[in-house]
């Protein structure tokens, strides 16, 4: 389909009252949207469904019937379990470290005009726009030249590097809607710079910081490209799944994927509720 469907040629403008935005409309666009959404969600449904598949071979391609076996034997594959543990611990450390390092950049960009601001902006843009493989290959080159063995630590370093820009822009976006006179008022009322930051700036900033940290966790746990270049013999969850995709992915992967999906939904839902309660 083309963008033509976005504007049905039918000229109803003359017939319908101008105030009524719901004129007679062809449902083409609505149907397309639903089809696209179904397309987007299909692989998720496949993942969830095949976690319940009563398959007996390693190949999990055809539906064999419903079972909860794979939920009961979730940790039956030791190196898959350790890959998942690696991914979870890496994501946790990265979320904390990248938030601590990225928040001040976002804060400074959102509030101050300082020398080198343009170059920081450009660097953040380049870091986000550059293809992941470029960052992965560049870091690998650095570690090769320095003779640093690749492993858990280099994955951490790499993940923190690609997460910092995302924290910075999330926090900066939060700062943009903030009135700087509030802090001045706090200072006028006798608060020290630290107190003003703690009581005025930080509570306002917190939702941005929390979303930044959650975003880092999600980016880190999901990353394949940068990790595959810098992991050495360390295996993370995505690396394990990728290498298994050549021979056959066991249903436990579907179950773990489903649980991560559910966990993500719960955290996202909690975040929304939390933001709403603060706003109320």
């Amino acid at each position: 389909m083309t963008t033509h469907t976005a504007a049905p040629a039918e000229d109803t403008a003359a017939h319908r009252p101008r105030s009524g935005r719901r004129g007679r409309r062809r449902p083409t666009l609505t149907v397309c949207t639903w089809l696209v959404l179904a397309w987007l969600l299909l692989p998720i449904a496949v993942m969830v469904l095949f976690g319940f598949n009563d398959t007996h071979s390693k190949v999990n391609f055809t539906w064999q019937g419903f079972t909860l076996t794979w939920y009961r034997h979730l940790f039956a594959i030791p190196n898959l379990t350790s890959a998942l543990v690696n991914s979870l611990t890496i994501a946790l450390v990265v979320a904390v470290a990248a938030t601590l390092l990225g928040t001040p950049i976002g804060l400074a960009l959102g509030r101050h005009r300082f020398r080198g601001r343009g170059s920081v902006d450009l660097l953040l843009f380049a870091a986000i726009a550059a293809p992941e493989i470029a960052l992965g290959a560049a870091l690998l080159s650095l570690f090769i030249v320095l003779g640093v063995p690749r492993g858990y630590a280099t994955v951490l370093i790499a993940h923190v590097a690609f997460c910092i820009p995302y924290v910075a822009i999330t926090v900066r976006a939060r700062m943009a809607g903030h009135d700087p006179t509030l802090e001045e008022a706090a200072r006028d009322l006798g608060a020290g710079p630290w107190t003003a930051f703690r009581l005025v700036t930080l509570p306002m900033l917190l939702p941005g910081v929390v979303s930044g940290a959650l975003l880092c966790f999600a980016l880190s746990i999901d990353d394949y490209v940068v990790t595959s270049f810098n992991a050495g013999r360390t295996v993370t969850f995505p690396l394990w799944v990728y290498s298994a995709s050549r021979t056959g992915v066991p249903p436990q992967v579907n179950v773990m994927g489903t649980l991560i999906f559910a966990g993500g939904l719960i955290i996202a839902g909690a975040n929304v509720l939390f933001a709403r309660r603060r706003a109320a």
Binding site: A6, L41, L140, I260
Partner: protein, 275 residues
């Protein structure tokens, strides 16, 4: 205050790129070690050897980007103008794939499109498709996977741009007796182009450089440049060639982005688009 984060980025983002360029200008081999010789012939050699995969990557990236724009624009338009009170619900549905690992999503397509899998199996059984029909390992599978994986990166910026279009401007256009089609082509579309441009940037760059889709859904004839870079680093251990290829890829993509920005920035293109 900015310093720690800034230093981290300098140390692990800027420095690596410089080191990568330096590595690409070394010669030698893995056993005897590499020396800095500033020979540029590695670049000529890798482009000579791998121009097929390089061009293929850019073509697949362009095809996926076009697909994302054609599929994504109507969706963004519908959510922005027709979704009414439920906008946030639809935006959330759009983001739902990001809660599932990228590799698992791609692997799910492997399950769906398998030669005798849930989709092709029944169709072959009914005789609607020949028994040797397959989708996996073809360019369609890879481009389809790329389009699927990067679609939200197109829809979101287009949606944001459409959302910003002032309802008064659309009303003014209707007041001046423009038809719905004219209003779209001459008012809404030009105003949303910055979003399309951002979407193209966010889709084309990662799609061209991706090798997960080609690795999982593709075959020997759909190898992309990312797969080659990985092979050079990890199988052939030819670090200068790998570094040179990575830099060629990075440079090409940045040039493409720049060229497109120049092209889109001119009024001619806007006028063509408005017609």
């Amino acid at each position: 205050m900015v310093l720690p984060g800034w230093l981290w980025l300098a140390a692990f983002f800027v420095t690596p790129v410089i080191v990568m360029v330096s590595l690409s200008l070394q010669t030698g081999d893995f056993i005897d070690g590499f020396r800095q010789t500033f020979h540029f012939h590695t670049y000529a050699a890798v482009v000579e050897t791998y121009h097929v995969q390089l061009v293929r990557s850019l073509l697949y990236g362009a095809a996926a980007t076009t697909g994302c724009a054609l599929v994504g624009y109507p969706v963004a338009y519908w959510i922005a103008f027709r979704a009414g009170r439920h906008k946030s619900v639809f935006l959330f549905l759009l983001l739902l794939p990001f809660f599932v690992s990228f590799v698992i999503r791609t692997q799910s397509w492997n399950v769906v499109l398998a030669d005798n899998g849930v989709l092709l199996g029944p169709l072959k059984h009914l005789g609607l498709l020949p028994a040797d029909f397959h989708v996996l390992a073809t360019p369609y599978a890879v481009i389809g996977g790329l389009t699927y994986n990067f679609l939200p990166f197109m829809v979101l910026p287009v949606y944001v741009a459409l959302e910003r279009v002032d309802a008064k401007v659309i009303e003014a256009s209707t007041d001046l007796y423009a038809s719905r089609a004219q209003t779209f082509w001459r008012v809404v579309l030009p105003l949303s182009l910055p979003g399309v441009f951002a979407g193209v940037l966010l889709t084309f760059v990662p799609a061209s450089a991706d090798y997960v889709n080609a690795g999982i859904l593709g075959g020997p004839s759909t190898t992309m440049i990312g797969n080659i870079i990985q092979t050079e680093y990890f199988t052939n251990l030819d670090y200068p060639a790998a570094a040179a290829l990575s830099f060629v890829l990075m440079g090409t993509l940045l040039l493409a982005v720049f060229a497109y920005a120049r092209a889109l920035g001119t009024d001619d293109v806007l006028e063509v688009a408005a017609r």
